[in-house]
């Protein structure tokens, strides 16, 4: 929890209000001490393709006892530029993100891949910088968390709003798994839903062949990797595939759709938060099946 003193300082510089009015507003708040403020880093894919994941994430973060802020100054984590060797763009985008989330106690990301970029790689882009910028980047990285690990490890969440009933399987996306060690958190959250039966697929930790621009640049190799992944997921005989990364999910869902496999794909946040009004990824609006 934040101390009231910290809150005053922060609001003071953000709003330009005098400390007297801020102090007055604190006095009016009944739920003192104040909730921490979590900035939602939406991710470019969720923003463009699947806002429902963003709303699900916001709902889960709020339910964990935080207020949610969505800074408008964010765009993307910069990973497409970084992994294409464009350090200048990655750095510029990184700094823009750091500044956009300056007022937040946490930066929460519904993607292991983008979270790893912000937490592990963005600071490296400022390694050879003047100490102030480097310190700013390091302090920012400290506050970055992937959504499911944030809920479990930072907020101690043991119950979720979701009421989904059925068998599901979970794909461990590579960056989150290997760079951030995200494996227990999503499983813990799913086990908190009494109606959900998690069936582990063979090679749940194997790459799906997405790899960002890799899928577009080397489609044949990507497809060879993806075909194995989809076969493994289908063999789990569950109607629904969950994962924590929309990139991998769009890849897997795209293949299921092309091959007319009746396998639905959703971001884990949608199930945890009961944001299930939109059809599964890549399925038409009139999609009738429950998942």
């Amino acid at each position: 929890m934040l101390s009231p003193k910290l809150f005053v300082q922060r609001n003071h510089c953000l709003t330009g209000a005098t400390s007297i009015t801020v102090a007055a507003s604190i006095a009016q708040k009944p739920e003192y001490p104040l909730k921490p403020r979590a900035g939602l880093f939406v991710t470019c894919l969720v923003d463009l393709f699947r806002p429902s994941v963003g709303f699900a994430a916001a709902k889960l973060i709020e339910a964990s006892g935080c207020t949610v802020d969505v800074p408008i100054g964010q765009t993307c984590c910069g990973q497409p530029a970084y992994n294409s060797g464009d350090r200048y763009s990655a750095r510029t985008i990184g700094l823009q993100t750091i500044r956009a989330f300056a007022g937040c106690d946490y930066v929460v990301v519904p993607s292991g891949s983008c979270a790893a970029m912000l937490k592990l790689h963005v600071p490296k882009l400022f390694d050879d910088d003047a100490s102030q910028l480097r310190a700013e980047a390091a302090a920012f990285a400290e506050r970055v968390h992937e959504l499911t690990s944030f809920l479990v490890h930072i907020r101690g969440v043991t119950a979720v709003p979701g009421t989904y009933k059925g068998r599901v399987t979970y794909h461990d996306a590579c960056s989150g798994l290997r760079e951030l060690g995200i494996r227990p958190a999503p499983r813990k959250l799913l086990s908190a839903m009494s109606g959900v039966e998690l069936v582990e697929s063979q090679n749940a930790d194997a790459c799906c062949g997405f790899g960002g621009l890799f899928a577009e640049k080397y489609p044949d190799i990507s497809n060879a990797i993806l075909s194995k992944k989809v076969a493994d997921l289908a063999a789990s005989q569950t109607p629904l595939v969950l994962s924590g990364d929309l990139g991998c999910l769009m890849n897997i869902a795209g293949k299921c759709s092309r091959d007319r496999r009746g396998l639905a794909c959703r971001h884990i946040a949608e199930v945890l938060a009961d944001e299930l009004t939109d059809p599964p990824i890549g399925m038409p609006n009139d999609h009738a099946v429950a998942p």
């Binding site: 429902s52 207020t67 969505v70 765009t75 464009d86 890799f214 044949d220 759709s257 890549g282």
Partner: protein, 471 residues
């Protein structure tokens, strides 16, 4: 089959369409990968060993000049001749000269990747020598006129049936009706044939898994014993090794050997771990009369001085490729040069030049599986990204990415464009839910559909519902 690394994309497409290759590759997860997993499980200190292995390699690389000179002194003291080769051409010439000095006609070889790298066999054969590979896998592919597709399992792209057919064709002096029940029968036949070569050879050439600085020894690890015969029976033994193979002490080598066998084949130790220190001494029962050690640079000094130094930690176990989804999909030949897989994607641009090998570091999903198994913790993803950065600095990026980056650095422009794209693509695609074809995502839609956006961006919806509402 393989054209060079420039033709990577075409090579990969051919590999994916090759049913025989795909059958052979399908054995990897249950083979080398499963064996490694089991071996690591039997070795509780494996993670600590990896740290030690990394530290030994880093220390050696940081003091490489010192340890190489010490190695030379001690090797000479043991009676070996030490030769330094700056380039592949120099190395080949030195080795050919040694063979000429020994009046050699027949050369037997143990498995050596650096000899592949410098093109040694072709060079010696052009000089009129008969060169016979004695590692079973190398023997098989030499007879087919192929190159290794894996650094420790050179014939992994072939099935048992392929090898049987080759042996029947090649060893046509043997009984036609003979039966091959299992791989052991193939091994027995190759052994009988190779035994004659060992006894007749004038020169034996081996690589080295390690060179020991404090003793001037070379180490080879094998499972067939062919390496031992290669370095003991002929009158002249030539070791060819690259500069980074040196380690300071026998103790250091012991640590690295524990990592090597477990990572490579899932063995606690290989069947043979053989130390060679100089030629036969007075009173020795066997051993060569002369021992030459050819130490090859061939571009490594430059890598040592640059950002790719960590790649020189490699002890050539092959675990990175065994665990790589890309290697598992296309095999080793598609990479187009000697070193395939993630380590190849880092070494090849360093040794051949980025222009030749630009595809290799790009053709990775960055899944990171290679890094989690590397026995000396080479940050392979970081190094591949380093080559991408070098490429971007030389050639700039593709224009669609540059346009995207331009917008991503400008939030207002970005959010406006995203709204526009979400609206258009959403309107067209929502009824079916996904696109089967899109002009700017032709690679993507070649094998899979692209989910259509929901219609409005998250930022747009959030602004309308939540933002501006006083909290």
């Amino acid at each position: 089959m393989s054209a060079g690394p420039r033709d990577f994309k075409a090579n990969a497409a051919t590999a994916i369409a090759d049913a025989g290759l795909q059958r052979a590759l399908a054995g990897l997860p249950g083979g080398l990968v499963a064996q490694r997993t089991a071996a690591v499980a039997r070795c509780p200190e494996f993670e600590a060993l990896r740290d030690q292995g990394r530290d030994i390699r880093d220390h050696t690389l940081a003091n490489l000049d010192l340890y190489l000179e010490q190695f030379e002194t001690n090797a000479k003291h043991a009676g070996s001749h030490v030769h330094w080769a700056a380039t592949a051409t120099e190395a080949c010439k030195i080795i050919a000269d040694i063979c000429a000095f020994a009046n050699a006609e027949l050369v037997v070889k143990g498995k050596s990747m650096v000899s592949e790298e410098i093109g040694l066999n072709a060079h010696l054969q052009r000089g009129g020598l008969e060169v016979v590979e004695t590692d079973l896998g190398e023997y098989i592919i030499q007879n087919r006129g192929e190159t290794p597709s894996h650094i420790i399992a050179p014939a992994i792209h072939l099935t048992q049936a392929d090898v049987e057919a080759d042996f029947r064709r090649l060893h046509d002096h043997l009984q036609k009706a003979r039966v091959f029940h299992d791989p052991a029968d193939l091994v027995a036949e190759a052994r009988a044939i190779l035994r004659e070569k060992f006894l007749a050879a004038d020169v034996g050439i081996t690589g080295a898994n390690f060179l020991i600085s404090e003793t001037g020894s070379s180490i080879i690890v094998t499972n067939e014993g062919n390496g031992d015969l290669t370095q003991i029976l002929p009158k002249t033994h030539i070791v060819v090794a690259s500069i980074e193979k040196v380690v300071p002490t026998l103790n250091d080598a012991a640590t690295l050997l524990k990592l090597l066998a477990r990572s490579a084949t899932g063995q606690d130790m290989t069947a043979y771990t053989t130390f060679a220190t100089g030629p036969r001494r007075a009173g020795d029962l066997d051993g060569p009369e002369a021992c030459h050690i050819v130490i090859v640079d061939n571009g490594r000094s430059e890598m040592l001085a640059g950002d790719m130094r960590e790649a020189l930690r490699c002890i050539r176990c092959g675990a990175c490729m065994n665990h790589c989804p890309v290697y598992n999909a296309i095999g080793g030949h598609a990479y187009g040069w000697v070193y395939p897989g993630p380590i190849g994607a880092v070494l090849t641009p360093g040794l051949l030049g980025l222009e030749q090998a630009a595809h290799l570091p790009n053709a990775s999903t960055f899944c990171g599986a290679c890094e989690t198994v590397c026995p000396v913790k080479i940050p392979l993803v970081k190094l591949m990204r380093g080559w991408r950065t070098a490429g971007h600095e030389c050639n700039g990026g593709a224009w669609p990415l540059a346009a995207w980056s331009f917008a991503a650095r400008r939030p207002r422009l970005y959010h406006g464009s995203a709204r526009f794209a979400a609206a258009i693509l959403g309107a067209i695609g929502r009824s079916s839910g996904a696109f089967h074809w899109l002009p700017f995502a032709r690679g993507w839609t070649r094998h899979r559909d692209l989910a259509a956006p929901q219609g409005r961006t998250f930022q747009q919806l959030w602004s309308e519902t939540k933002r501006g509402v006083p909290r």
